[in-house]
């Protein structure tokens, strides 16, 4: 009995850490990084000492900081004042300005018949204004490519004189699946998140949700899965190469399907895509496949961001 109380008292006093080798809270600082930092600090202080005839003295520099902050706050208030003044002069909209509500009338009153979607917002972004959504998917894809160029740990990115090769190498391999808390919580939560994400995705036209929302939730589920289960198990579920292929195929499918609809619509022909019964899952014409495509692009892009930041591979 006294043994247990002794342990408890020690833990309260801070002498004994029961989770020492179980959780991932070790902090190791590498030596070469410290050397490079010291060199940099030396260079900066030398340059400061050289240019002190042109710059302010050290004591005055503290005053400069204070003046800088005061100027920042004053200019913030000025900017907010000018913008508020401008916004107050904007023309009124709504019931008093009937020219601004003709488009809304058309969308709300004939939205259900023309698109077959109960959720009017989903009908707008995937049927009336689907070109904007196509552009937005391309923006996501381009962002993934840019982050790949910047952060992928290959030979060109690692071989520079000042970059800390030791730190970059050390960052890659920290795997969290030894952590028991996140493992157990992940086993319960990750299937629930995936089911919820798929539900939100498939019911985009019948209720709130849609491509972006469902895709983001699924992307978040993939991120938690990778953190909870480790890289090997997640690679067996969705490998990174598969994720890139899914992104590419979804984007190409969206382009060609919507291109076909634009082509027939512009020439006055009828694209023979059935609208279905509003309220069912298989309804709304092309809205369901396009929803799935957009959702896949968003989910795989978020997963790709996480992997690139964590371990330098897509």
């Amino acid at each position: 009995m006294s043994n247990k109380f002794a342990k408890f008292r020690n833990w309260l006093a801070g002498d004994y850490d029961p989770l020492k080798n179980v959780l991932d809270t070790d902090e190791t600082v590498s030596d070469s990084r410290e050397e490079i930092k010291k060199e940099n600090r030396k260079i900066i202080s030398e340059v400061d000492a050289e240019g002190s005839t042109r710059r302010l003295e050290k004591a005055e520099q503290r005053g400069f900081d204070l003046v800088y902050r005061v100027i920042a706050i004053v200019s913030c208030l000025l900017l907010i004042g000018v913008l508020l003044f401008t916004v107050a002069l904007l023309p009124r909209y709504g019931v008093e300005n009937p020219e601004s509500t003709t488009v809304v009338k058309r969308y709300v009153e004939s939205g259900l018949q023309e698109t077959g979607a109960i959720n009017i917002v989903a009908g707008i972004i995937l049927d009336y204004r689907a070109f904007d959504t196509l552009g937005e998917s391309h923006v996501l894809f381009t962002a993934l490519i840019c982050v790949t160029i910047l952060l992928r740990a290959d030979s060109k990115n690692l071989r520079t004189k000042y970059e800390d090769f030791y730190t970059i190498k050390q960052v890659k391999y920290h795997d969290l699946n030894k952590d028991k808390i996140i493992n157990r919580v992940g086993m319960i939560l990750v299937p629930c998140i995936f089911v919820f994400g798929i539900y939100v995705l498939l019911n985009g036209q019948n209720g709130p949700g849609g491509g972006f929302s469902g895709g983001s939730v699924m992307g978040a589920g993939l991120i938690i899965g990778t953190a909870a289960f480790g890289y090997e198990k997640m690679d067996r579920f969705i490998s990174t190469k598969t994720a890139m292929w899914i992104t590419f195929i979804s984007l190409a499918f969206y382009s060609f399907a919507k291109g076909y609809v634009f082509f027939t619509g512009a020439n006055g022909l009828d694209n023979h895509i059935p609208k279905g019964i509003p309220g069912a899952i298989l309804s709304g014409g092309l809205i369901l496949p396009l929803d799935i495509a957009v959702g896949m692009v968003v989910a795989c892009t978020m997963y790709g961001f996480y992997n690139l930041f964590r371990r330098g591979r897509t």
């Binding site: 913030c76 916004v87 709504g94 939205g111 009017i120 707008i124 972004i125 962002a143 004189k161 970059e163």
Partner: protein, 126 residues
């Protein structure tokens, strides 16, 4: 004129958020705080846009019981514009953060003044 601002108070708060985010982006010297300021600026813009479509007393634009009257729902167009914007904002944040990581690996500091001084003194790279 000021009565407009008091009626649409969400617009006023959105403008205040935009101003605070913009000032954080300009005047902070730490790179990560600048990016947080940019995100705050983005969400302020989205709040401003979406508050244009909100009408007091009406419901979300999902057709219920076949009621398809314009007077029963809010304006759905600004909401669809903002939906695209939220996802684009996270893409821009991701690119900026990866640039920050590369800058840190090169100069080992996050302060903008130090990066400026060091970049003039260390010009050879390989």
């Amino acid at each position: 004129m000021l009565s407009n601002l008091v009626i649409n108070y969400e617009e006023a708060v959105a403008i205040v958020l935009f101003g605070i985010g913009f000032t954080t982006l300009l005047f902070q010297r730490n790179l990560v705080r600048k990016l947080i300021g940019m995100n705050i600026m983005d969400t302020g813009t989205f709040l401003f846009l979406a508050s244009m479509g909100f009408i007091n007393g009406r419901k979300a634009p999902i057709v219920v019981n076949g009621v398809q009257d314009t007077a029963a729902y809010i304006n759905p167009i600004p909401a669809s514009l903002v939906l695209t914007g939220i996802v684009v904002s996270v893409s821009v944040t991701a690119i900026m953060l990866s640039l920050t990581v590369r800058l840190y690996h090169r100069y080992h500091t996050l302060q903008l003044d130090d990066i400026y001084v060091l970049s003039k003194h260390q010009t050879e790279d390989r």
